[in-house]
């Protein structure tokens, strides 16, 4: 299964995502904001990144841009978690290089379906 980096400043959200992914057999590393995530990404390697958009220190959009600048992360799936269903927010993620998005609130099944969509 895949090794996934989960980034969210909300511990409950992070736990939920992480718990769900682990239940599906994935290996999960959690980070609390973009800065932490970037450090994790550089020190480790992942098959996919799932990141919240609104976060302190470094938001998910900036994180995505930064990750796409790293050789190992140019092509891996990066999913953003947005609360807004608005096109604008999703497109901001896309413009930064995100593969796709998942709109909050979502349930574990939706999360797994989306992950499956990018990891096959």
């Amino acid at each position: 299964m895949a090794r996934i980096l989960v980034v969210d400043d909300s511990a409950s959200m992070r736990q939920m995502v992480s718990f769900t992914l682990k239940g599906d057999g994935h290996d999960v590393v959690e980070a609390g904001d973009g800065v932490e995530a970037l450090a994790c990404a550089k020190a480790d390697s992942f098959n996919a990144v799932i990141t919240d958009v609104n976060m302190p220190n470094m938001d998910g959009i900036t994180l995505t841009k930064e990750l796409r600048g790293l050789p190992n992360y140019r092509f891996i799936p990066i999913l953003t978690l947005t609360t807004e269903a608005s096109t604008e927010k999703k497109m901001a993620g896309k413009a930064a290089g995100a593969t796709g998005w998942l709109v909050k609130p979502f349930n574990p099944d939706q999360l797994l379906a989306t992950v499956k969509k990018v990891l096959g």
Partner: protein, 701 residues
């Protein structure tokens, strides 16, 4: 999902605190984008979590707040006092809703609805601004809008999929899309190699291929579109029903959905330049990743066990000392045996010394687990000051320092209310209105300082205002009127000031809405005393007052004075003791044949014979040369006569109530180094029992 609820509630309450404190920091008018952003983010997280964990009412309510904040953030709405106040009140409502959700209780729907209406009103109130703003909810055309084109009844679809060369860049992969499509029906894929470059000119990261996909089955067009959802603007896509007819020349989907070509520029308002604002240091809470949450009962269990360990250690220590003195006094054994014994004794005493050190460090370490920074209490104050100053039409600046000072969680939980009372009092009675201040030549804005620091084994909290100070004449007159002091008593300034803590004392001529009704400073004093602490005030008329609270760092250990009464040892909490002295016959007086008093320098203090309080035989009529411990009870000194004074030591407090029952004269018990149990005095209780006996005439004078 419910296993994440606790974490969700905890972070939501933290989020509310952040919102509250940042809202209080927010200036009216422009509003600092960074601050608004922080508030927005907190609201946003609550909303997202609430939606995910199924608290829809919370999610909906937060959404309106968030919309308002979003408009403030992008500058399409001014930061008005009304809006800020409304948001603050909404934070309260949200807190109530979250508490109700947590406790599975019902929430006051009416209150929520009315607050919701106010927020909606603000949003609608400025239609012009709101219309221009890209309100998130307004713009959701999306797939649903373009869906009607699909009949869905077709027996299949032809999908022309021509990705742009950079489609792979964002981590999307056509293979995965085909796999997803294959789940919708029978798939046949034709690849178009026309654009494929010769190997020498090929950029391996670009995509040169295009596909025509035939999907047979009764898949809905929306499902197909969903597969391509993320790449709509990175490909040319047409989806046409498979009907044997000519493909409809007009592409069904491509253009309408993605009309504003997503130029990277205008998208996220987040990093809107925050010029030079970085200078403002924000002491944010340390990342929670490095901490774990443990039930307080587990911690208390450990503290209790460590307490037992401390007692065992001091028993061993005493045994070691006894052994040593025995070895010294008895004639040493001859030869090898004696040498061996001496060597063993040395090892033992080394080991005991190490045990003592380790035990002490272990105890301190464990105690520290229960310690929390006082910022938990201080953080309530900005809101209080904000609300009260507008209510009282006063201008008050709150200055907080030492908020990282730590103290025991239980002490913290119990100090909040007394502190709120003192702060209210300072704002209500201390700091004057701007015009009075101006007339007195003071700056119109008053200052309230909250400060905390460690001193010895105590934490000291100061509440200092630069207001009018205590009117001593008024206080003294009131005290005489209430019979707290006699008219001819000679009192120092400090003594007069501290009269405000006397029971039933209240100087406010008019009972005000702010400082409460009838609840006086004596209640503050009582609650602080019951925590083993003390409170006092110094004040200078016209310049302000300083209330000083002194609290033990923990409730689990206590510095005590060991005394002997009868055959028993007792512990008197050191914090209650003013001094200890040897009674001089000349200073003893009988008052009206009833009670004994002692002339201590200029004052007469009641004499309390511990033996009589405990109902022990007391044949010592003449107290000359007896030992007396002067303690403070309700702000007044009293002398307790004991048989003997022993040393001072730190003792581990054991509850009498949980192990036996409440005893009026005792606040707890401890085990001493020799293994005996010593009761810890409650000096207030001692004095009460003494008074009762006196009134019944049980005490012979």
């Amino acid at each position: 999902m419910s296993q994440f609820h606790e974490a969700f509630f905890e972070e939501s309450f933290e989020g509310l605190e952040i919102m509250e404190s940042e809202l209080l920091d927010l200036d009216i008018g422009e509003g600092d984008v960074e601050i608004i952003n922080t508030i927005f983010r907190a609201a946003h997280s609550i909303k997202g979590g609430a939606g995910t964990f199924g608290f829809m009412n919370v999610s909906e309510f937060t959404h309106v707040m968030e919309t308002l904040l979003d408009e403030m953030r992008d500058g399409s709405r001014d930061v008005t006092q009304f809006a800020v106040d409304s948001l603050l009140q909404s934070v309260d409502v949200l807190r109530t809703m979250l508490e109700a959700a947590r406790d599975k209780a019902d929430v006051d729907e009416e209150m929520v609805a009315s607050r919701y209406a106010v927020l909606e009103g603000i949003l609608k109130g400025e239609e012009a601004g709101a219309a221009a703003a890209p309100v998130a909810t307004a713009a959701t055309p999306e797939i649903e809008a373009s869906a009607p084109a699909s009949a869905g009844g077709a027996s299949g679809w032809v999908i022309d999929f021509a990705p742009h060369p950079d489609l792979l860049m964002a981590g999307n992969d056509p293979v995965r899309m085909f796999r997803a499509l294959s789940e919708l029906g029978e798939l046949s894929v034709d690849v178009d190699l026309e654009k494929l470059q010769p190997l020498t000119e090929l950029t391996p990261e670009d995509l040169y291929l295009a596909w025509t996909i035939t999907l047979t089955g009764d898949a809905a067009q929306a499902d197909i579109q969903e597969v391509f959802e993320w790449v709509e603007d990175e490909c040319d896509l047409t989806i046409t029903p498979l009907s044997g007819e000519q493909p409809v020349s007009e592409p069904v989907v491509s253009v309408p959905v993605v009309e504003p070509a997503p130029a990277p520029a205008p998208a996220a308002p987040a990093p809107k330049a925050a010029p030079a604002k970085a200078a403002k240091p924000k002491a944010k809470k340390p990342a929670e990743a490095a901490s774990i949450r443990v039930g307080i009962d587990k911690v208390d269990e450990i503290i209790n066990l460590v307490g037992e360990l401390v007692i065992t250690q001091s028993m061993l220590d005493q045994a070691g000392e006894d052994l040593e003195s025995l070895a010294e006094s008895s004639p040493s054994q001859e030869g090898e045996a004696g040498k061996a014994n001496a060597e063993i004794l040395l090892r033992l005493s080394k080991g005991l010394a190490q045990l003592e050190r380790n035990t002490r460090e272990l105890q301190e370490g464990v105690m520290r687990i229960r310690m929390l920074p006082i910022s938990f209490v201080f953080s309530r104050m900005p809101r209080l000051v904000h609300d009260l100053s507008s209510k009282l039409s006063k201008q008050i600046e709150l200055v907080v320092s030492g908020e990282e000072t730590e103290l025991d969680k239980t002490v913290m939980e119990n100090i909040g209310d007394p502190m709120v009372h003192l702060v209210r009092n300072a704002l209500d009675h201390g700091i004057e209105t701007p015009d009075i201040r101006a007339a007195a030549g003071k700056p119109e804005t008053g200052t309230l300082n909250l400060n905390a620091f460690h001193q010895g084994g105590n934490i000291v909290i100061e509440i200092k205002d630069d207001g009018a100070g205590i009117n001593k004449e008024k206080v003294l007159a009131k005290a005489v009127e209430k019979g707290v002091v006699a008219p001819d008593d000679v009192l120092t300034d400090d003594e007069i000031n501290n009269l405000i803590f006397a029971p039933g004392f209240s100087t406010a001529d008019v009972v005000s809405d702010v400082s409460g009704r009838g609840v006086g400073m004596d209640v503050v004093k009582t609650s602080i005393t019951s925590l083993g602490g003390s409170v006092s005030v110094t004040s200078e008329e016209g310049k302000g007052s300083v209330f000083t609270i002194r609290l033990p760092l923990t409730l689990a250990i206590l510095d005590g004075q060991l005394v002997t009464v009868g055959n028993e040892s007792y512990v008197i909490p050191l914090i209650t003791i003013i001094e200890s002295l040897q009674v001089d016959r000349q200073n003893i007086n009988q008052v009206a044949g009833k009670a004994e008093v002692y002339k201590l320098r200029e004052h007469y203090i009641p004499i309390i014979r511990a033996r009589e309080v405990f109902g022990l035989k007391d044949d010592k009529r003449d107290l000359h040369e007896s030992l007396m411990v002067v303690v403070e009870v309700d702000g007044a000194p009293a002398g307790i006569v004991v048989d003997d004074l022993q040393g001072q030591q730190q003792v581990v407090i054991k509850s009498l109530e949980t192990n036996y029952r409440k005893v009026e004269t005792m606040s707890g018990a401890t085990i001493l180094g020799d293994g005996t149990v010593a009761l810890i005095w409650d000096v207030n209780g001692m004095v009460n029992v003494h008074r009762k006996k006196l009134n019944r005439g049980a005490v012979k004078a």
